[in-house]
């Protein structure tokens, strides 16, 4: 093995290494589900309801079945092999949840546009779509309700059999809220609408299933292959060891593939029925319609404070629009935000009250940040509104309420323990890059020229690294699962290394980051470390990638498994070199005896001795591989300070982000490039929500934003060059000191943009407005403000 110069500089961890996965992705050599084509594969297409709410009075499949290219047509009446409806995995102890049954094919009743009523299987991708048009379905339309506040009145029922649209009530609070408001000099209240968004992954969903000799393999573009196997087992009544789920290359998820979709179940079920492989690849129009949406909350936020800006009470009442069915985590999403409703502040009393409601729209569920972007938006917009009400500087109000840097671990009024933080430091670092006084002078000058420029901040913390099982599991928060993670580290005879992780990356760069961690510890090059993921038949049971958990939970599991390998390797080297295991260290790519570096072995030599065990310590097993499961004792709480500068064209209402600065802290960087990638993407996602993206249904429940023309994802042309910096405050929770960073940008940014837009609009008489800041909405707000 050749020496690598980086090691002289202290190892691979911390280096901005380019991603190992990029060459195959950039050159089109990656394998996605749609690239896999077993011999004899049939295609599946769905007949979907054009009505938002209807009774299905008849389905005539005869014309479709008469086609030569059609193999089978199934409807809701044919589902007897499917043992249970689609799952919702949140069963909060002691809370009543009014949940409709959700079958993968409608059984006589459809509740949203796109609800599948039949599926067609045929010989190619084109003919099944033609055949689906030949299935004649008669609908008897029922009244439709799309507005969650209307739905709460129960005048129109989304599921008549349920008796009510209200799903549940759930609260989380701490401290004395009444006393807090009583002690306040001012109380502000704002209605804050966080509109519905889509995940917008570039690869739509795709599923392929093949049954052979009683074993079934499912390839799915999913974030959670192990969960999918579990639910396939439960729903299809198949024993788990006969099911293999593979998530090959997955082209983005953003939470939208943290789901158990009816199409996945049906694809496997249909493959069993027809005895041939069956494939379904979602079209973009389907993705907009029936891949779960996110957000869609109406919050009433009340904040009580002293004249000096000290907050005495914070109360958020949230009405969450769940759409027509509860999917895997639907009702849990707003609750995730409640855990950090104290933000990075010392609020003595905080409470979140959530009401969930059904409407005739598609389901909401986790989209990047899942509840925490909504919470941060409420908190950070409210802090600005409060500062304005009190005539104080919004940064001073934040500083006055920040948890002190020496007060960590910090238990908030909610009983949540923040692991580590230094909010003052991240804000100070942000201000090293941004001269606020100079900005204000510039802002004044530009107003004279008719340009309305605004500056907004967002100082945030969030809760991630989902785990710990005892907190989030069945007896705690109520998720019907543990949330640990696993890893297997296998050193091969040649010293090459394969790492199996239970996380399931879909663009994050685990293959690089995890390899850096392993390479340093084993004394090899990350290029020699292959990270395998997304295959239930390879490596131990795992739980997938979401909730910014992969590094803080999965990466720590990798570190722990590697540590076991190192321990065994040291014992082996000590035996060979006649030294004590305690004196063996891995340095510069060699396993050496401390103090006498001329005595040493390479990883290949260590592995060779382990696999050709002619001379290993008494009682030691041959081989060199170890498995670890890791369940942390707490969440991790990344944090940071963001600033947005926007220009508003007051004549047209058009908003442009002209500068965006982000200082984030996710503990010591394993790979700063990966962090920047996640931060950039997260911020763009959130600027997207603030300025461009919105899922819109009309009053009869038709989806208006069914394409990427109407659902306006921002492009590079809309986004300024994002300026990033970091502070590094280690987490005491894991040995790496790391926190998640996949969602932080999304969680932070919408509030910074909103505050900036409002800052720009204040001279025009606009003190508050909701996202999205589209030209017409901003123009309308200005017209109203001028009256």
């Amino acid at each position: 093995m050749t020496a690598v110069d980086s090691r002289a500089q202290g190892g691979f961890v911390g280096r901005p290494m380019k991603r190992k996965e990029d060459p195959r992705l950039i050159t089109g050599r990656a394998t996605y589900v749609d690239d896999i084509q077993p011999v004899g594969t049939l295609w599946m297409a769905f007949v979907r309801s054009p009505e938002a709410h209807a009774r299905v009075t008849s389905i005539d499949t005869s014309a479709a079945l008469a086609r030569e290219d059609v193999v089978a047509v199934f409807t809701g009446d044919d589902l007897e092999g499917i043992a249970a409806p689609l799952p919702c995995a949140w069963v909060p102890p002691g809370v009543e949840v009014n949940a409709p049954e959700h079958w993968p094919l409608a059984k006589g009743h459809v509740a949203h546009v796109g609800d599948p009523v039949a599926l067609v299987i045929g010989v190619d991708r084109y003919s099944v779509v033609d055949a689906a048009e030949d299935v004649v379905v008669e609908y008897e339309p029922l009244p439709v309700v799309v507005d969650p506040e209307e739905a709460l009145k129960d005048e129109v029922l989304v599921h008549p059999g349920l008796g009510s649209n209200k799903v549940h009530e759930w609260s989380l609070g701490g401290g004395d809220l009444d006393a807090g408001f009583a002690a306040a000099d001012v109380v502000i209240e704002r209605r804050i609408v966080n509109h519905r968004v889509a995940g917008g992954a570039i690869e739509p969903r795709a599923v392929l299933a093949e049954e052979r000799a009683g074993h079934i393999t499912i390839w799915s573009s999913t974030q959670v292959p192990h969960f999918l196997r579990l639910f396939l087992s439960i729903l299809l009544g198949l024993s788990e060891e006969r099911i293999r789920v593979i998530a090959p290359e997955v082209g983005g998820g953003f939470g939208s593939k943290l789901q158990i979709y009816g199409e996945e179940i049906l694809c496997a079920w249909a493959a069993q029925r027809v005895g041939r492989p069956v494939k379904w690849v979602e079209t973009r129009s389907e993705a907009m319609m029936v891949t779960h949406h996110g957000r869609d909350q109406i919050a009433t936020v009340r904040v009580g404070a002293k004249r000096d800006g000290t907050v005495t009470a914070f109360h958020a009442k949230i009405l969450a629009d769940f759409g027509a069915y509860l999917m895997l985590l639907t009702p849990a999403v707003p609750a995730l935000g409640a855990f950090v409703m104290s933000g990075c502040y010392r609020f003595p009393a905080v409470q979140t009250d959530i009401v969930g409601v059904l409407t005739n729209k598609f389901s909401t569920d986790a989209i990047r940040g899942a509840g925490r972007p909504e919470a941060t938006h409420m908190i950070e917009v409210a802090m600005d509104q409060l500062a304005h009400e009190l005539g104080l500087d919004p940064l001073d109000v934040r500083r006055r309420n920040f948890i002190a840097a020496d007060d960590f671990p910090h238990e908030t009024a909610l009983g949540i323990v923040y692991d580590s933080g230094n909010y003052q430091a991240s804000l100070a670092k942000l201000l090293e890059h941004l001269d606020v006084a100079a900005f204000r002078a510039e802002q004044e000058r530009l107003r004279g020229e008719g340009i309305h420029r605004g500056l907004g901040f967002s100082t945030y913390t969030e809760i991630c690294g989902l785990a710990p099982s005892r907190v989030v599991g069945p007896g705690g928060f109520g998720l019907q699962t543990g949330l640990w993670e696993s890893a297997l580290v296998r050193v091969h005879l040649t010293g090459a290394v394969t790492v199996y992780t239970g996380t399931s990356p879909h663009g994050q760069g685990h293959e690089t980051g995890f390899a850096q961690i392993v390479a340093d510890r084993l004394g090899c090059d990350p290029e020699q470390v292959e990270v395998v993921h997304g295959d239930t038949a390879a490596g131990p049971q795992g739980l997938g990638t979401y909730g910014s958990r992969s590094l803080a939970v999965g990466g720590e599991a990798v570190a722990k498994a590697t540590a076991k390998v190192v321990e065994k390797g040291k014992a082996l080297v000590a035996h060979k070199l006649e030294a004590s295991p305690d004196d063996i260290e891995v340095r510069d790519g060699r396993w050496i005896v401390r103090g006498s570096p001329e005595q040493g072995m390479t990883l290949a030599e260590v592995a060779g001795s382990a696999y050709i065990p002619e001379d290993i310590p008494e009682g030691m097993e041959p081989g060199l591989e170890e498995t670890a499961f890791y369940d942390p004792n707490n969440f991790v709480f990344p944090f940071g300070a963001h600033a947005a500068i926007v220009d508003v064209d007051a004549e047209t209402g058009k908003v442009k982000v002209v500068r965006y600065l982000a200082v984030d802290d996710c503990g010591p960087a394993i790979n700063p490039l990966l962090i920047d990638g996640q931060v950039h993407g997260g911020i763009v996602h959130s600027i997207g929500q603030a300025l461009y993206e919105q899922v819109i249904y009309d009053e009869i429940g038709q989806l208006v934003t069914g394409t990427f023309v109407d659902y306006a994802l921002p492009t590079a042309a809309e986004i300024p060059s994002i300026e990033t910096d970091r502070t590094e405050t280690p987490s005491p929770v894991n040995s790496l000191g790391v926190k998640g960073i996949g969602e932080a940008g999304t969680i932070a940014a919408s509030a910074a943009v909103a505050n900036a837009v409002i800052d720009a609009l204040r001279p025009l008489g606009v003190d508050y407005m909701d996202m999205p800041f589209t030209p017409m909405r901003v123009w309308n707000a200005i017209q109203e403000g001028q009256q």
Binding site: Y126, V129, T283, S285, T652, V704, T705, A712, E718, M776
Partner: protein, 281 residues
């Protein structure tokens, strides 16, 4: 997103293409850049039975100067025209169409034949008072811009006809500006305003043309603005006054991003901006 079945031919001469179109009847469609037709087919909003691909038809690409005009072949791509100063407003407007990928494929003939009032080039043709040359297998004719666009995505071109060439006056001594208002850089215009201004020696407005994108079911001229400004001094007051008339007589359809009222407002603002830029004030 999955088109219905269709037949496909790619003839290698204009005559063969015209014959194929005639043979294919009402449901045959020419295929140029495909960037308007293919999306419609994928959404099954268009279901042609035969596509006559023009990719191998020679001699229909490029822009040539002839006397006081430009002759632009129907298969000339937006990318062939974008940013070319000598083409005046055509060079400016083509660089604002969608993104580079679309400009690399989309053609001027396809854009005009498609007749989408949200597209940019129909407006430019109307403002320039250009013409298109069309042919079927028997004859050829010229259609003036004012007669070409009849209704929403409906033109005077018959099913068996192809545009072969677009002719626009060079308008060399005219100032020009195209103000395209979009949410994202790559979007279709919410409203677009094309202004062409000829300044007299005394600085007054000798002639002016203003046309709108997406303010009606076809591109339309803002005649009230033109009347108000023609013969006036090109001052910012006069321009602002004229631009106030921009929405007069318009009845734009509302859509997801803009109500009719907001579109009329945008038309006024953008007309002022376009005229100011075209007049250099």
């Amino acid at each position: 997103m999955i088109p219905a079945e269709f037949d496909y031919v790619a003839p290698d001469s204009l005559d063969a293409a015209l014959r194929a179109l005639a043979h294919g009847g009402e449901d045959a469609k020419a295929l140029a850049g495909g960037h308007s037709l293919l999306p419609l087919m994928k959404m099954r909003l268009a279901v042609p039975t035969l596509l006559v691909d023009l990719r191998h038809v020679p001699g229909l690409r490029g822009a040539q100067r002839e006397n006081g005009s430009w002759r632009i072949g129907a298969l000339t791509r937006h990318a062939d025209l974008q940013g070319r100063a000598e083409l005046g407003i055509v060079g400016e407007a083509t660089s604002l169409i969608a993104d580079q990928q679309v400009r690399n494929r989309g053609t001027i003939g396809g854009s005009l034949a498609h007749g989408d009032p949200a597209s940019d080039l129909p407006t430019i043709l109307v403002a320039m008072e250009g013409t298109v040359s069309v042919r079927n297998s028997a004859a050829s004719r010229e259609i003036a811009a004012g007669d070409l666009f009849q209704d929403y995505m409906t033109t005077a071109i018959a099913a068996d006809e192809l545009i072969t060439e677009v002719r626009v006056p060079a308008l060399e001594d005219w100032g020009h500006a195209y103000e395209k208002f979009t949410r994202r850089a790559e979007d279709w215009a919410m409203v677009g305003v094309c202004a062409l201004v000829r300044k007299g020696a005394d600085g007054s407005c000798e002639d002016v043309r203003v046309a709108f994108t997406n303010m009606a079911s076809t591109p339309i001229r803002a005649t009230a603005v033109e009347h108000a400004l023609r013969g006036q001094p090109l001052s910012s007051d006069a321009i602002t006054g004229a631009a106030e008339q921009a929405a007069e007589g318009t009845d734009p359809p509302g859509d997801l991003n803009a109500t009719p009222e907001y579109k009329r407002h945008l038309a006024r603002v953008l007309t002022r901006r376009a005229l100011s830029r075209a007049a250099g004030v």
